[in-house]
Amino acid sequence: MNIVTSTADGAALDAGVAELTTPSTTLAPAATAATIFSLGLPARPALLSKPAWGALVVLILLVGIGVPLASLVIPESSAFHLSAYAVTLGGKLMCYAIAALALDLVWGYCGVLSLGHGLFFALGGYAMGMYLMREIGHQGKYGSDLPDFMVFLDWHKLPWYWQGTQHFAYAMLLVLLVPAVIAWVFGYFTFRSRVKGVYLSIMTQALTYAATLLFFRNETGFGGNNGFTDFKQILGFPITHPGTRMVLFLITFAVLVLAFIGARAIVTSKLGRVVTAIRDGESRLMFLGYSPLAYKLFIWTLSAVLCGIAGALYVPQVGIINPSEMSPGNSIEMAIWVAVGGRGTLIGPIIGAFAVNGAKSIFTDYFPEYWLFCLGAIFVLVPLLLPRGIIGLVMKRHGSRS
């Protein structure tokens, strides 16, 4: 139910956004209309158009009030009741949407296709997972101070990188810093040597592949194959309680909305314009005197951090994090969410994440053996038939009507 409302509202929202996210090719006519002495740049677009703001407020009210009401107040017998499963699924899909938004910032606006964003997602998740594991305390199977898997491996004290993770604030700092530092270091070395295009994609894939192998090892200290699971509470609240779930859901929703507005602010800013210019013609931009390195690094690191936040929100709701979350396959799947929705728009990846993962939920429930065929077909057909994604389709129809 939740999925349906937000997709419909997303489409409505898009109608407002569509006029603003005009492709770069239309910049030229706008310049001729400007005054002789101006630089010929089009006016900076508003953050959101009036109808878009309206749609956003309606959506916030609908989800912010409607979902808690439908899940916690309306009795289970009613047709409007939202089950705990639906709330968790909704929260999970929104985490994916945040990650897709993050990926779109680098791919759609900066032309850097990362096949390694699963790594940042999982790193955020692992940082949150470390806190949740410490929060279990003595309630684990072995009743030890150490997480169960460490007792199982016969470790007697916490490794240094686990120190301090019992503090929520420190764990949240890790959620932000770990993806940021890794993204920055990797980005610095690759962008500096002007690795781009397919090469860069391959490098990011190798990065996440190496990390997956590392996290699969028991000796790495992150639970190996099984990862973290069996969480009991978060900040003292029982993690499976419907109230806690609802708060997590609402926080995720808030983060998604804020991330959307924040991303919108960035891509409409001057910085955003330079980033888009890097996508469209990096060499030209360099001839104009810009050094793309800092811009690329900024947008790349920001995207990694946003992805880490999505992962951190994902773990308490899903209740497990393991290395398969950062596997190359999972990371590539993120790219297809963006492609399905429509890259280079901000609402597109959100729609794409909901559409693909919604389809995945339906398929794995009803025809599990055909999901990989379906996913493969999406990968093959979307770039062939829908090069601008669902948004492109909607925009074309919108354009032909007006």
Binding site: G111, A206, A210, L372, G376
Partner: protein
Amino acid sequence: MKFWRMLILLAFASSWAIGAQALTPDDLKPLGADDFDAKAQLIAKLVTTGDAASLTVLKALADDAVSITGNNEILIQDGDNYRDAITGRAVTATDAQPITLSNVLRNQVNSGLSAVQLSSPDLATRQAAVETLLQNPEESLKPLVDQARSRETDAALKKRLDTLWAMTALHNHDPAQRLQAVLLLNARHNLEVGELLRPLLLKNSSGAYAEPDPAVRHAAQAGLDELASIQRRGEIAGTIFAGLSLGSVLLLAALGLAITYGLIGVINMAHGEFLMIGAYATYVVQNFFQQHWPAAFDWYPLAAIPVAFIAAALVGIALERLILKHLYGRPLETLLTTFGVSLLLIQATRMIFGAQNVQVSNPSWMSGGLTVLPNLILPYNRLTILAFSVTVIALSWTVLNRTRLGLFVRAVTQNRQMAACVGIKTGRVDSYAFAFGAGIAGLGGCALAQIGNVGPDLGQGYIIDSFMVVVLGGVGQLAGTIIGAFGLGIASKAIEPFSGAVLAKIAVLVFIVLFIQKRPQGMFALKGRSAES
């Protein structure tokens, strides 16, 4: 000498026939008793006597064919019949109980039997006896070994006997004999000898060396040092070979990737699945031979090679014509599309052949290995693949540098527009080159099937490493791919012993990221205007 032995043996045999023996029934009595020492002494006596009757008893003891009756007669079981152990006369026994020896005594019997057999006139029997004794040398048998050593005429066997003698003489009271023993052992260059030499250099609880004579200790130390250097050489050579072997597979996997990347500028994520198709084609050919032509089974790889090439090339050309052609100029989307194709191919394979690994067996001429050093055996299947991959490289070089298609491929790689202007049908060149690259990957799959598991995920394990080869080696250059593949293979295997396979992968990745700081285009960048996009 030999003649005399035979004569003596003959004499013994005849004496046995008329019933005059050195053994008496009383001698054998301890076999039925519980006294361990008495049994050990009896066996030692049987060995030193060494006549035909003793030999018969020893053989029977080794075969568990000795029984004892209620009134302590020792009998030898022969099928369902019993014979008296000494007279050899047939006996009917109803209450015979088999005598079983403890393991210690059994070893003594086996060694003793071999020692007696050292004097056998038959060379093969003597050889077998020496090998048995080398496994389990006993000092008590030294006199027999001494005799055999002074008698032996076969040069190769004499050497083995020297070693055997050295093993039994290692604790002799005479230092000169000990020194000679150590020198003989040193000359053997066998790693197991280290186990015999090492105890000599240990100190016992009172601080004295186990071996009192410094000259012998010195010789033993020299021998151990040499063994260590042999072992080190073996390990280094083994690492290099493992690296070359990994590199040869990576090379077959990456070659097609490098060609198509250089030509069309897309990285084909489904390239690993061409390996998988090649491997499954090999599997199908193998099954066909098994069912319809088992006589020629050993040569099925020869038939599998063209089948694997054609199967992968056909899928490749279909992929290029149906999908990739429509995406030229959009490399990043092509990446996603080919990933989708790889998902589809894997899932389709799962449905056709099942998710389990399938069994591809080596033909008999590929099993086994070549022993180069005591601790280094090169498996024939890996050697074959190495040779195969060198052949494929040579063929690819010929195709790229000596044929018209190769000329076109190189032209389009360097400058597509210019090539089109001079009349090259670039679209067709793309298709052929893509099929060629896919076919080489199919050959790689055919090779992989001989050394590893064949399953639907086969390609996934190699694809990222192949990408790294292309990144390292640069595109459109055969030499870059070759050096990249073997370099990556050897580097991975060289780091592995120190840090494990996972950290080796990470180290290689870090190295590549740092390497492209210096040479963003790989080791062998194309020169000229085409270089900058």
